[in-house]
């Protein structure tokens, strides 16, 4: 079966490319990052809109990285650690996510998560733009989708600043906090994005 871009790479740490934006380095997570992975994923404020349980130990961080390896191998999940260059080396601020890649339908889903300490600096918008560029440029995508829970205004603004357009309100599509949550679907097309001018 064709394996566009990754061409048979089976190791997440060496196969997922490092991406660079103006102030951020996006790279695969490694064992050395485990303590910071715990910090980032035990931030109560951030977890409120994340709908996944916190990570409480380096063992759980390692198990989490195992899922990233598995997802990379299946080409179904790509997660980068986001490291701001204006912080000390190895300071993990959050993650950037591409998932549900369909090379046939040239479509992919985008997400991100940042520890609350790093909110308000524009990192999520910069990460989103970097992942959009990678999707359209390297992965040959035509359409990127993102989901946000209504009420998460900060995340809506991130997507809008990155050029996304709201397309649909999907009723009770997510299950979080033991109750159904609506989600808003946003899209960005290659032909709509600023990347179109560059490529």
């Amino acid at each position: 079966m064709p394996d566009p871009f990754f061409e048979g790479a089976d190791d997440y740490e060496t196969g997922l490319p490092t991406l660079r934006t103006a102030r951020l380095q996006l790279r695969p997570l490694t064992p050395a990052d485990d303590p910071q992975i715990v910090d980032v994923f035990s931030d109560e404020r951030s977890l409120e809109t994340w709908f996944r349980p916190p990570l409480a130990s380096v063992d759980q961080a390692r198990a989490y990285r195992d899922t990233l390896q598995e997802g990379f191998g299946r080409r179904s999940l790509f997660i980068w650690g986001v490291f701001p260059t204006e912080e000390a080396d190895g300071t993990l601020a959050g993650i950037g996510i591409l998932t549900r890649w369909s090379p046939v339908h040239r479509r992919i889903d985008l997400g991100y998560y940042f520890a609350s300490h790093y909110w308000g600096r524009g990192y999520a918008t910069e990460t989103a733009r970097g992942l959009v560029d990678f999707s359209f440029g390297s992965l040959g995508c035509h359409r990127v989708e993102a989901e946000v829970v209504p009420g998460n205004d900060a995340s809506v603004r991130v997507l809008e600043r990155a050029g996304f357009v709201r397309e649909a309100l999907l009723k009770e599509r997510l299950w979080g906090d033991d109750a159904p949550q609506d989600s808003m679907l946003f899209r960005l097309l290659r032909t709509e994005s600023q990347t179109a001018a560059a490529s």
Partner: protein, 189 residues
């Protein structure tokens, strides 16, 4: 209530005129008939199969989807005579979010008799019942008026118009997204 409704494989579902069951190698010729017909395939996410090998590969992928619990695709079979008429699918199952996506296809020879509706109802009964889904969604070509009518009759709500979401035949294709919640199943008669 079983934790894993698929522990013993794909359960057979029964309706009045159709059965829904796991596809087997003996179905490959029937799959080619359904998925090889251009008119039948005009609303599908890829073009028609051109040979038996394509049908075999497709069925093997369905088997893989069952084993990995990501895709549940039943053959729609006439109770009277056993003819394979199409398939019905729940895909992208998220047990975390209690949600799956509905799909179906019926060979054009069997259109207009309510058979697709009957098959879809049986799958939704199973989805909302045994699988304990909270939400089922359906992605439909905006020009597929028959499917739009079918899902709306079953209570699906149109939630959005999605631009250029598919590349079935070499050019981008829009779609409509519909959602149906367990609280709205079954539909009022």
């Amino acid at each position: 209530m079983p934790d894993n409704p698929f522990e013993a494989g794909l359960p057979t579902l029964e309706a009045e005129r159709v059965l829904l069951r796991r596809l087997t190698p003996g179905d490959d010729a029937g799959l080619l008939r359904v998925f090889g017909d251009a008119e039948t395939m005009q609303w599908w996410s890829h073009g028609p199969f051109t040979d038996l090998a394509a049908a075999t590969t497709y069925r093997e992928r369905i088997d893989y989807g069952l084993r990995s619990r990501s895709l549940f695709q039943w053959g729609i079979v006439a109770r009277d005579g056993g003819l394979l008429m199409g398939t019905c699918t729940l895909s992208d199952w998220s047990s975390t979010h209690r949600r799956a996506e509905l799909g179906y296809i019926l060979h054009r020879d069997h259109w207009g008799q309510g058979l697709a509706s009957e098959a879809v109802r049986a799958v939704l009964d199973f989805g909302f019942g045994t699988m304990r889904l909270h939400r089922v969604e359906a992605d439909v070509d905006p020009e597929n008026t028959a499917s739009i009518a079918l899902v709306e009759r079953l209570g699906f709500n149109r939630e959005g118009y999605l631009r250029e979401r598919w590349w079935p035949h070499g050019t981008p294709q829009d779609s409509l997204i519909f959602g149906l919640l367990a609280t709205d199943w079954p539909p009022a008669p």
